[in-house]
Symmetry: C2
Subunit: 217 residues, 2 copies
C-alpha cells in the first residue's frame, strides 16, 4: 500500500502536479505513495507528524470538531500539500481525513527538512507555498467576518473563481460548512440570489457552476 515510485510513475505525477517539479531527487527517492478510501482518517489530533503529505488525486481535509459536534474544515486540498505547518510542530492540531478515495505522496519529515536546508530552489518554492497559504487563509477570515450568506457567497466567487465564474468542486453541503453556514441557509441564500438576479447557476456535467451577476456598487 505504500510502495516507492518508479521513474515513470514520478514523471506521471509531475505532469499532473507541476508543483512537484521543484522537488529534489533525494525527496523523490524517499517518497512513498498511499491510497485511502473515502472517509478514512489518516491522522488524528495529537499524532506525531511523520510525513509531509501531497495529494495527487481525490481530496484530503484538515478538520476539527467544535464542542457542539459540528465539523470545521480548516483546509481542503485536491492537489498539493496539506498541513504545511506540521513541518514545524511535534503534534497535529487537526484531524486529517480523506473526503473521497484519495491518492497521496508521503515524504518523511526528516528528509523534507534536510532538503529544505540543502536545496535553495526547493526552499524558495516552499516559502512561496506558505505565503500563498497565508493569503488564502486571510481571504477566508475576511469572508467569515462578513455577515450575511449572500455576501460570503459573492466573496467566495470573487476569491476562488475567475471572472465571476466558479466551478464548485465539492457538494453544496460541504461548501456550506466552509462558508460557516448551515446547508439549509446556503441553499436558501442561493435560491434567493438566483430569484433576485444576483446569481446564475448551471450544472455542467456533475459540476455545479456559479456566475456572479455584477451589481452596481
Amino acid at each position: 500500500m505504500t510502495p516507492h515510485l518508479s521513474e515513470e510513475e514520478w514523471n506521471e505525477r509531475v505532469r499532473a502536479h507541476p508543483e512537484l517539479a521543484a522537488m529534489p531527487q533525494s525527496l523523490r527517492d524517499a517518497a512513498t505513495e498511499q491510497q485511502t478510501k473515502a472517509g478514512e482518517r489518516l491522522y488524528a489530533i495529537g499524532d506525531r507528524p511523520q510525513f509531509m503529505l501531497f495529494v495527487t488525486a481525490g481530496e484530503l481535509r484538515l478538520t476539527r470538531r467544535a464542542q457542539n459536534g459540528a465539523e470545521v474544515i480548516l483546509q481542503r486540498s485536491a492537489s498539493g500539500f496539506v498541513a504545511e505547518a506540521s513541518l514545524e510542530t511535534s503534534r497535529y492540531h487537526c484531524d486529517i481525513v480523506a473526503a473521497q478515495s484519495t491518492r497521496l505522496l508521503r515524504f518523511p519529515i526528516g528528509c523534507f527538512r534536510e532538503a529544505l536546508r540543502e536545496d535553495a530552489a526547493f526552499q524558495a518554492a516552499w516559502m512561496s507555498r506558505l505565503a500563498q497559504e497565508v493569503r488564502k487563509l486571510r481571504a477566508q477570515c475576511e469572508r467569515l467576518s462578513l455577515h450575511g450568506a449572500a455576501e460570503r457567497i459573492e466573496h467566495y466567487i470573487e476569491a476562488e473563481g475567475q471572472g465571476g465564474r466558479l466551478e464548485l468542486r465539492q457538494s453544496r453541503k460541504s461548501w456550506a460548512a466552509e462558508l460557516g453556514l448551515t446547508h439549509e441557509a446556503l441553499y436558501r441564500a442561493l435560491a434567493t440570489m438566483v430569484r433576485t438576479g444576483r446569481l446564475r447557476t448551471e450544472m455542467q456535467g456533475d459540476r455545479f457552476v456559479l456566475f456572479a451577476c455584477p451589481r452596481k456598487h
Copy 2:
C-alpha cells in the same frame, strides 16, 4: 524620519524583540526606522511593497473594508513582522494602518529576498514565522466558524491566553471586530458570561483581563 540605526540602537531593538537576532548583518545595515502617528495609513491596497515591516512599538494592522463599509482586521502586530506575504506579491492586498503611535523597522524587499537566499539560519527562521502565521490564521478561521459570541470568546481565551487567563491588548471594541461581532454583541455576551459564571473579568492597571471558568463538558 527614516534614519539608519546605530549599533547601539540595534542592540536595544534586539533585546526587546528577540526575533531580530536571526537577522543577518546585511539586512541590519539596510534597515531604516520610521515613526508614525496614531491612525496613519502607511500603505494602501494596490501599492507596490518596497519594504518588509517590523513593528518595534505601538501597533500596525492589516485591514480591508467590506462593501458595507465595516472594517475587517486581517492581522494585528505589536511586535514583529506584518504583511509577511507581501514579500511574494507585487501589490498590497490590504491597507496597512497604525492603530496607535508606532515605531517600525523597514527592510528593503530586494535585500530581504537576497538575505533569505544567502543566509540559511535566517531562512529557517522565516519559514517558522510563516508556519506560525498559518497556524494562527487557521485558529482564527476556526473561531469565526463558531456561532455564538460566547463560544468565540472562550475560543479566543484558549488560543491566545495562557491557562485560561487572557490580558486583552486592545480595546474591547476592536476586539469585537476581530471576533467578527459588533461591539454591542460583545459587551452583552461578556456581561452575560460573567453573570452566569462562565467568566471572570478584572482590570489590571489599564488592561482588561479575562479568566475562563472551566465548565463540565
